[in-house]
């Protein structure tokens, strides 16, 4: 962050005098509105959440009884439940599979965009933009229709190869449910990854690649020994962003749950939703929310470090 500070050092030299005290409080006045918004909409709820997570908050408290302090009891209850652990493990696996697939396909698409003729590249880019721009609720609705067990086009295609796929109810089994959710997430996320990596690839100088080719490097060697190391910063940032985003997947799973007995397919977000909004168990929901926030911050830490590194 080196670009920043010229003005206050140099205004002294310019024609007009600026009151130094005014200079001092000005930045605080400028960030005040943003800070007020963040404190009101996030700070206060966060405080409430921490408070609630260490208190017993049940039905009686709904009617005004003071909540009783219980220390870490809520956390102990929460994490001695195998349901909770199943949700955590499922979410981690879901996150890794989704982020991995997205990165692989995104990288492949970016390399393809670099390799093909301009017209083909433009076609890919427009198609990807369509997926990127589709609002998530609309995207989920479309995919539910594509996967519809009765009239969906996917079952129609698959039934030509596997006759048993006629009328296969995708959302009726956990594995089918996660497959559909994964397809939606990957379809929506690949464009951002592909565009970012493609932007990185255009920065790789052609001379380097030509030199390597003349020296006899195979295409695979050029990819793994030159291209990937050169675009490592971009790869790191999109990978970390993808991990964070796929950990917090909510809209897709929540909307797909409308179609399936929801109890055994919860991921982090829908689990909180069920406890908090569904069962009004605010203590448990708060305790688990804090766990999710900590988990996110742990992953974000690497991301922020990369960003700061890029920034310097």
């Amino acid at each position: 962050m080196s670009v920043v500070t010229t003005i206050d050092a140099e205004t002294g030299v310019t024609a007009r005098e600026v009151n130094p005290r005014k200079r001092k409080i000005a930045p605080y006045l400028l960030i005040a509105p943003a800070i007020v918004m963040l404190v009101v909409a996030m700070g206060y709820p966060l405080g409430w959440q921490i408070y609630t997570s260490v208190h017993h908050y049940g039905l009686a408290q709904q009617f005004g009884k003071a909540a009783e302090f219980v220390g870490v009891d809520n956390f102990t209850t929460l994490f001695s439940s195998s349901t909770t652990w199943m949700v955590v493990i499922r979410s981690l696996v879901f996150c890794l599979v989704n982020a991995g697939l997205t990165l692989l396909i995104g990288l492949g698409a970016a390399l393809l965009m670099k390799a093909v003729h301009k017209a083909v590249r433009l076609t890919i880019q427009i198609a990807m933009l369509l997926a990127w721009a589709t609002p998530v609720t609309a995207a989920v609705t479309i995919w539910i229709w594509l996967f519809d067990w009765h009239h969906g086009v996917i079952n129609w295609v698959l039934s030509h190869f596997w006759p048993s796929m006629v009328h296969f109810n995708w959302l009726g089994t956990p594995l089918g449910f996660y497959s559909v959710a994964t397809l939606i997430v990957v379809w929506m996320s690949v464009p951002f990854v592909a565009f970012s990596i493609y932007a990185g690839l255009t920065q790789v100088p052609d001379e380097v690649m030509e030199a390597a080719q003349i020296d006899g490097a195979t295409a695979w060697q050029r990819l793994t020994k030159i291209t990937l190391p050169l675009i490592r910063p971009v790869l790191m940032i999109v990978a970390l962003l993808q991990l964070i985003w796929d950990l917090r997947v909510f809209t897709q799973t929540r909307m797909l749950q409308d179609y399936q007995d929801p109890l055994n397919v919860d991921l982090l977000g829908t689990y909180i939703y069920r406890m908090g909004i569904g069962q009004s168990d605010f203590s448990m929901a708060s305790a688990f929310s804090i766990f999710v926030l900590l988990l996110t911050i742990a992953v974000s830490w690497f991301y922020v470090r990369e960003l700061i590194k890029e920034d310097n």
């Binding site: 670009v3 920043v4 003005i7 024609a15 600026v18 960030i31 509105p33 943003a34 918004m37 963040l38 009101v40 909409a41 996030m42 206060y44 709820p45 966060l46 959440q49 393809l112 390799a115 093909v116 003729h117 083909v120 076609t123 427009i126 198609a127 933009l129 369509l130 997926a131 721009a133 589709t134 609002p135 609720t137 609309a138 995207a139 609705t141 479309i142 995919w143 229709w145 594509l146 129609w156 379809w187 464009p191 080719q213 964070i244 917090r248 909510f250 909307m255 409308d258 982090l268 977000g269 909180i272 939703y273 908090g276 909004i277 708060s286 929310s289 996110t296 911050i297 974000s300 991301y303």
Partner: protein, 310 residues
């Protein structure tokens, strides 16, 4: 598809390259053919990738034009040649779409307006001033930007319930503004930092006040950054589902994404009318897609200039 001219041109270059490095002349013809086949295969897989990625959107629009009887046939109808706009009439008939549109517009415009002002002021502070706590503020922004809505929405729900702001445009806008501010500040900071302070100083030497120099010189140069941030805030607020789901539970206060889900739910009570459902998806998605395609060049350059480079 690649034009033949360009393909040959490229191959000649590679061919020459092979000769220049003393590549075995005998193999030249074979490797040329292999290369050409490779090129064609790559182009074909590129087109296949594009078709797969665009298909869901095409299928949505196509299905929205077909009747439920046609969609229920055992073989899919690939081209909506017998298409009508009947499904749209069905969807728009009860007016709920327009209620949701109005809620979405009010929430989004309020969010964009406030975010632009607040984020701009904060971006100015962190890129033009040195002050105690600056680094902490920037770090906090970066972390807050990554926080998942699901990690806070129960608490936000309770807060809005206590403040009597459930189902209100103001209530949800406050949450959206706070959710969007961190990233927009970070993005705008890049733009402000990209404008040399010397420009302002020059204007001051020419007799402008610092404020005047700022508004006459720096501010106009910031327009692309403000547009990019505004577009970002707009898309976030317009498409948001998670927070809206808990805050806007009344049927009359639904935003467009909630209306879409409710419409599908309502259709599920009977046998799903997929034509109408796809028409409602199209109504939600297509304006956003057109807007996105229109602004995306500016957007991505903004994202890159502001967020990645700095």
């Amino acid at each position: 598809m690649p034009s033949t001219q360009e393909t040959t041109a490229q191959e000649t270059t590679t061919g020459q390259l092979g000769i220049a490095t003393g590549g075995p002349v005998l193999k030249e013809g074979v490797s040329l053919r292999v290369r050409r086949i490779g090129k064609v295969l790559l182009a074909l897989s590129g087109v296949a990738l594009a078709l797969i990625w665009a298909f869901p959107v095409y299928w949505m629009v196509s299905s929205s034009l077909l009747s439920n009887t046609t969609l229920g046939k055992s073989t899919p109808t690939w081209f909506p040649s017998s298409g009508t706009l009947n499904n749209y009439r069905t969807v728009l008939a009860d007016g709920r779409f327009f209620d949701a549109l109005s809620v979405s517009l009010r929430v989004t415009l309020l969010t964009v307006f406030v975010v632009l002002i607040f984020a701009f002021l904060a971006a100015l502070a962190i890129s033009r001033f040195k002050f105690k706590g600056r680094k902490g503020f920037v770090l906090a922004l970066l972390f807050i930007q990554m926080l998942p809505a699901e990690g806070l929405f129960i608490a936000q729900y309770k807060m809005m319930a206590n403040a009597q702001l459930l189902n209100s445009v103001i209530g949800i806008s406050v949450l959206y503004i706070a959710a969007v501010i961190p990233f927009t500040v970070w993005m705008l900071r890049g733009f402000v930092a990209g404008i040399p302070a010397e420009l302002e100083e020059a204007a001051q030497i020419d007799g402008c006040s610092p404020t005047g120099a700022f508004f006459r010189v720096t501010f106009p140069l910031l327009a692309p950054g403000l547009v990019a941030s505004g577009v970002y805030a707009f898309l976030q607020a317009w498409n948001e589902f998670t927070v809206a789901l808990v805050i806007m539970q009344e049927p009359t206060s639904r935003t467009l994404p909630l209306w879409l889900r409710a419409f599908v739910e309502g259709s599920r009570a009977r046998e799903i009318d997929w034509g109408a459902v796809m028409a409602s998806s199209t109504l939600v998605a297509v304006p956003v897609i057109i807007f996105f395609l229109f602004v995306q060049g500016r957007m991505t350059s903004g994202l890159v200039a502001g967020a990645v480079k700095g």
